[in-house]
Symmetry: C2
Subunit: 450 residues, 2 copies
């Protein structure tokens, strides 16, 4: 991360950084699959019509066109809904995939999706134009039991806890709770209130109160109550009493309180300290209809959310048929950039190789391949030298890459003698290519947290 | 593959197909890493200048531009070398990556790269506009020992043999051999001869002979000799004698014969039946300077090459510094399309899940999560039912997804009794969540060849 990207906003990792990325992605995949999520990938391009379906995000879109288009294709207009563009998230493509393949899928459908997405925005600290997201969603056909709102949060808490990123907090709220509370207060433009509450961290409570009064016609008391709600933050379900103490009542508020208590209660039980009910969370312009989640990294709160999501009443629709969904998305690249810039995690070497088979004579290459094959058959990543340079030079090859072991073969009284050297300690011992194993922690590159 | 892509040329897999794809990609990754190749990924976009560096491929390129570009950006011309476009292979981006990061890499640098690439061509049978490639290359700084030409072929033979694709043949030739032979014959436009020899399979020897004479001014005898060379195909190194028998001599021919014999000889020894010396292989317009490889699938020869590559004297260059390379690239998507259309391989189920924990009462959900956690801690992918529907319905959930086991819990005399049912055989037995393991072959979805 000390290197500058040759194209602003498009980051490329060096091999040792890529090992950390692979570790992160493998860990996520393992956790998602242990919880029964199926992998899918969608094409990188969508039609503009699809991408803009949910509103005005066109500033961020990269359009795609054949460089040598046919005359008919040339006519494409900037606004043509059939024009192709790179996807900017994995939710919109997934919704299209569900609608297109509904007849081939079993609902509720649990899927994870780890892919790159692109946004044509001006890069800034922590922003990239190309980045990897890792999403899980459960989508139902017509209805989707609320318990999935608890389920996906448990899965993500487990996935994030398995990463070398230290402590994190999943902040959870519920749109029904907030909306019911505002309605109970007598405020009808609930979207307007949410939009202002969303600015709380940026502009502070006094300014939000002023906006609620000036823009939405709230009384000072209504504004105070809305701010009092947003100030509630508890690790367990005690937020319910604190909301009740504000004296507001509404059916939707009851429903939201019950849902949020179910999510936070179960997380408190199964992943203590990982989640809080945070009644200030609004998730801005996103189209959530119930639970909303965001996640901050301890000590890196100003990085913003590294894992967000929520419940949609209609993730997708096909005629009268709706597909409700709930899910969360990790911004993997944003997380990695922070991990690298703060040395949060490092790889023990820059190559997969555990053993480097040295050559004593150039002609030994084929025999050295036999040794390597025997080692590889037990899962030991092995490289073979291509020429019989001085041993010092061959050891240097391994050393520069962090390869821990160099394998030597010599002929003694007509017998082939195998020895393996740990180049960190210098210890060299006889070894049988058919049986020797490195210590478990040296088999593959290790990724360790700071 | 019976489904039609919603965007022509952009294929998306269903979950069970994706499991086959994951199996293929995991197998390749495992093999490449066992041989010490480092993973890298490059950004999806390159500048047009980069992409067009090696010649006229612009017809196939997808240009990329911000939909709402700034006024300054608007001015970009179709031919602007700074314009962005999606990469159409992984070689050009890798070459740029090597030049940009040369100071951070250790040479020879062994890398594998598995990513999507895009080509804006008209789709046809077996062609896609978005497809995944899996490349390995070894690149040197200034020089790269010839043995790597043998090494990469051995790695790919091993990787392909591990896939459920049946028999294949790596066809190997050497540009020096062909060029030396033509020069020895007195034909100086060796690129012209190669270009015509490349048409052999399409237009036949008589027509190639005619073209060699009419276009390149070859004599009938020279044309016959060039065709005689292209007709040589041997599983071992006996091609050397057959070439010698044609009576042509040239230094470059000697060098090419020696190199090709080294590659084919070692492959014949270590991967018998997997490779042939095929002196008709030209690899068209590619910029190879020595060994060239292509690979056909037995019974699917008309599909074309599924894995191709070769040696470049200068994969990349930075001022006076050149980076020679040798490598091979698998067209993964093309292979998968054929695998699916001919039922070459199938997944044993469409989800990762091995166990579905059923609910007797709605309130059991949290306890069922304890059971699931115990199973997952031993690597058993497990889902939990969200409501206590009739057991028949819960079993149907598992059955439709191919989940082999359903877990039941009941209370007997105040004791919790656990039982697991194999829904294929109907057998139901007592089981301990802390100890029970499914048979190894049921732990994860199995991918099997036809």
């Amino acid at each position: 991360m000390s290197r500058k990207a040759s194209l602003s906003g498009f980051h490329e990792w060096l091999p040792a950084e890529r090992i950390v990325e692979q570790h992160v992605l493998d860990t996520l995949r393992t956790t998602f699959e242990l919880h029964g999520f199926s992998s899918i990938e969608t094409r990188a391009v969508e039609t503009l019509g699809q991408l803009l379906r949910k509103g005005d995000i066109d500033k961020e879109v990269y359009a795609v066109s054949r460089l040598q288009a046919d005359p008919g294709e040339r006519a494409e207009q900037a606004e043509d809904p059939n024009r192709l563009a790179l996807h900017f998230d994995l939710t919109v493509p997934f919704a299209r995939y569900v609608v297109e393949n509904a007849g081939h899928l079993s609902f509720p459908f649990r899927r994870y999706q780890i892919q790159k997405v692109w946004r044509g925005e001006r890069p800034q600290e922590g922003r990239a134009r190309e980045f990897t997201q890792a999403d899980i969603d459960v989508v139902g056909d017509g209805s989707l039991p609320f318990r999935y709102d608890v389920d996906v949060a448990l899965v993500m808490a487990e996935a994030l806890a398995a990463l070398p990123i230290g402590d994190f907090t999943i902040r959870i709220n519920n749109r029904k709770l907030a909306e019911g509370f505002y309605r109970g207060l007598g405020l009808t433009d609930t979207a307007g209130v949410l939009r202002n509450i969303d600015k709380l961290e940026k502009i502070g409570p006094a300014e939000v109160s002023r906006l609620l009064q000036s823009e939405l016609g709230a009384t000072a008391d209504q504004a105070d109550q809305a701010l009092a709600l947003a100030a509630i933050r508890t690790q367990d379900t005690s937020f319910v009493e604190r909301v009740r103490a504000l004296g507001v009542t509404h059916n939707l508020l009851d429903e939201g309180l019950e849902e949020l208590a179910a999510v936070v209660g179960e997380l408190h039980r199964r992943a203590p300290g990982r989640a809080v009910a945070d009644l200030s969370i609004a998730r801005g312009l996103d189209y959530y209809t119930g639970t909303v989640y965001e996640t901050v990294l301890a000590g890196h709160e100003q990085l913003g959310s590294i894992c967000s999501g929520g419940r949609y009443d209609a993730l997708a629709a096909k005629g009268n048929r709706t597909f409700p969904g709930v899910g969360l998305s990790i911004g993997v690249t944003r997380l990695l950039m922070r991990m690298f810039s703060t040395q949060m995690a490092t790889a023990s070497r820059s190559v997969p190789t555990a053993v480097y088979v040295a050559l004593t004579h150039d002609d030994d290459w084929s025999a050295a391949q036999d040794t390597a094959r025997a080692l590889r058959s037990r899962g030991i990543p092995t490289e073979v030298a291509v020429s019989a340079e001085k041993f010092g030079k061959q050891i240097k090859y391994a050393d520069r890459r962090g390869i821990p072991f160099v394998w030597f073969t010599r002929t003694d009284d007509g017998q082939t003698v195998h020895e393996v050297k740990d180049i960190r300690s210098g210890e060299q011992v006889p070894a049988d290519p058919q049986a020797w194993m490195p210590p478990h922690e040296d088999l593959r590159p290790r990724v360790t947290g700071a």
